[in-house]
């Protein structure tokens, strides 16, 4: 069973005020059934400064082929040469199965909660 972000507690809103969280809105269906089109989330842009992504994390990353497009995916595997990112709804997802592993520098942050 995939883990989905829980509703943000007050601390998350304090962290937003302190610039430690960003507001994110999902568009599209590749993260169904847990994340719907239009869902609002909080992302920690500093999550991977001191630690590395782990399997199961939901992350925001730069699209490998389309400049300025940010995508939301789940870390499926941690590899020697990067991170295998997939959508929870593979039928509706362009991800590592098409583009290969993502380098850490392309991962922008970790989803921490539902706003």
């Amino acid at each position: 069973m995939e883990k989905y972000p829980e509703n943000a507690g007050f601390i998350e809103y304090v962290l937003l005020l302190l610039g430690r969280r960003k507001r994110i809105r999902v568009t599209g269906a590749s993260m169904l059934p847990g994340l719907n089109d239009g869902d609002e989330l909080f992302m920690d842009p500093y999550a991977y400064v001191d630690t590395l992504p782990e399997e199961g994390d939901i992350v925001v990353a730069w699209h490998p082929r389309q400049a300025d497009l940010k995508i939301i995916k789940r870390v499926s595997l941690v590899l020697d040469n990067g991170y295998w990112l997939v959508g929870d709804n593979p039928a509706e997802s362009s991800d590592s199965s098409k583009y290969g592993p993502f380098a850490l520098k392309r991962i922008l942050g970790k989803i921490t909660s539902r706003a």
Binding site: A8, F10, Y13, L16, L17, K22, R23, I24, R25, V26, T27, G28, A29, S30, M31, L35, D37, E40, V60, H63, R65, Q66, L69, K70, I71, I72, K73, G87, A91, E92, S93, S94, K98, G100, A115
Partner: protein, 153 residues
């Protein structure tokens, strides 16, 4: 209160889309997989069967051989899928006018993918690479760009 705080900050959209709005195609996907087919074919042909009395060596040999075959099978099928996606989703009638033999080229390339699955043939694997290179050239010419066919291996 939470909404008040939240609305002080702009919301950023992140995409959870499929191929539809992406519209990004690249024959590199097929090239990487065809290279894997060629690599696995070479590895299979280079394998030496161990002495049948050495049970551990036979198990290791069978395991390695099975993995090579499985990867060749999977990557050949992936090459076929990537070529067919270019054919059905990227190429348009205008490209067919510039390349009247396009359907035949695609048909032969995808047939080669099948041949690489059913055989262990260096000739077929190299022919598949050449076919993918040809499609690469047609693809980039259609986009008006001169992109070199660079191999990873």
């Amino acid at each position: 209160m939470k909404n008040l705080i939240k609305n002080l900050f702009a919301v950023e959209e992140v995409s959870a889309h499929c191929d539809g709005p992406c519209g990004v195609y690249d024959p590199a996907d097929a090239r990487i997989k065809a290279e894997a087919v060629l690599s696995m074919t070479k590895k299979i042909l280079a394998m030496e069967a161990p002495d049948a009395s050495d049970a551990a060596a036979v198990v290791a040999y069978n395991n390695t051989m099975s993995r090579y075959i499985a990867i060749k099978e999977e990557q050949a099928h992936g090459t076929k899928t990537d070529i067919l996606v270019l054919w059905t989703d990227f190429f348009k009638p205008v490209h067919l006018e510039a390349n009247p033999d396009l359907h035949n080229i695609i048909w032969n390339a995808t047939k080669l993918c099948s041949a690489c699955k059913t055989s262990v043939s260096l000739e077929n694997a190299e022919a598949l690479m050449a076919a993918v290179e040809n499609i690469h050239n047609i693809f980039w010419a259609a986009k008006g760009r001169d992109v070199a066919f660079v191999k990873a291996s």
